[in-house]
Symmetry: C2
Subunit: 223 residues, 2 copies
């Protein structure tokens, strides 16, 4: 029994064998992704906006300026689509037809609500900051009253979700393996370069370990 | 005079100074991005699907399985939103409020049509393959009649577009510069690992130069 029922909305239609409906598969993709793409409908038109997110259990947290159209849409209670994509490689088959990408993606549907309580907003901003860089909340200056007031925070309950994953080498047609064409995978990795100090940095301050050794592998858990 | 008029649809609302409406800024983002996120409305709900794209002048090219819902939506002639996001770094300000990301993103609106002519489909698939890996079309086995028939290809005319870009160090509040908190930028780079040969690769075939030296910088031009 999967965590999420496969319905018209979230069922992986193309290549169903790549589809997954379990939190244990879907949530690590959400947690590893630094950003997501939020889809909403306004005046009948589709909008797709990249933004920072964080997950807390079965909820997604978003923040933005108070006047942000995206934040208003997320907080409106209408169904929102949120997509997370991790690109793992180019799959170069002998045929262009079987050429593909290795990836892990998740598509989530849910409805949001605005956070209005200051303590609840602060707790959500901590989770967002920690999603970006685990360890940062303890170091950085937290939002003051004015900043908190000008920041909209929304929480969306994940109602339906699916993941789609492709891994491994190309899958060519049997007769194409004899062709004199190189085939294989070109893996993609997010590389984090050595941190660049702010030009206005006070003397004697060094980048913290969680920045120097920054990594997104093993982020979060599938709780 | 910008290439695209800033309207309700494409105007960059949050931090307008980061907004751009010129093809010379927008098109290189589209070309460098390996994939995009396609947004459409079906039965009143928003959907956001990651997919491979390519640009040809003021058109975007997409392909997929004939039965693909996304392809039907793109080909339907309804307005589609396509978003391209390049993440360039984490911006760690002293305050969580001013912490941000460095990025280059583009949001495009347009309407598509299906390609039905085989020669036109083939030309579009060449552009898609070359977007993925410049040089691959000449090497790989092109689609045969059966593959071409089972592949849907659509072309979308870019009607409206904008880009949003953030670069550089954090911008903290004046009084925060004195805080004993490290601040700076952690740059992100897509790294392409050494190619992995397909396990079924025939003897004597080596990965071509365009794979070994793969890079997405300087992809395309802003024509």
């Amino acid at each position: 029994m999967s965590d999420f029922a496969a319905t018209t909305r979230n069922r992986v239609r193309r290549i169903p064998a790549r589809g997954h409906y379990d939190k244990a598969v879907i949530y690590p993709i959400i947690d590893e992704a630094l950003i997501c793409h939020v889809g909403f409908v306004a005046d009948g038109l589709p909008y797709v906006i990249p933004t920072i997110h964080a997950r807390s259990g079965d909820k997604l947290i978003f923040h933005g300026a108070k006047a942000s159209r995206m934040m208003k849409q997320i907080a409106s209670g209408k169904t929102i689509c949120v997509t997370f994509t991790l690109l793992d490689g180019l799959v170069l088959a002998r045929s262009t037809f079987h050429s593909s990408m290795n990836y892990r993606s998740a598509v989530v549907f849910g409805r949001g609500r605005p956070l209005t309580d200051d303590a609840e907003k602060m707790a959500a901003l901590e989770i967002l900051t920690e999603h970006l860089a685990h360890g940062r909340w303890a170091d950085a200056r937290p939002p003051n009253a004015k900043e908190l007031n000008s920041t909209a925070v929304a929480k969306l309950t994940i109602e339906s979700a699916s993941a789609k994953i492709r891994t491994g080498p190309p899958g060519d047609d049997e007769e194409d393996y004899a062709l004199p064409i190189w085939a294989g995978v070109l893996s993609i990795q997010q590389q984090y370069l050595p941190p660049i100090d702010d030009p206005g940095l006070a003397d004697g301050l060094a980048a913290p370990d969680y920045i120097v050794n920054y990594s997104r592998n093993g982020k979060g858990d599938a709780d």
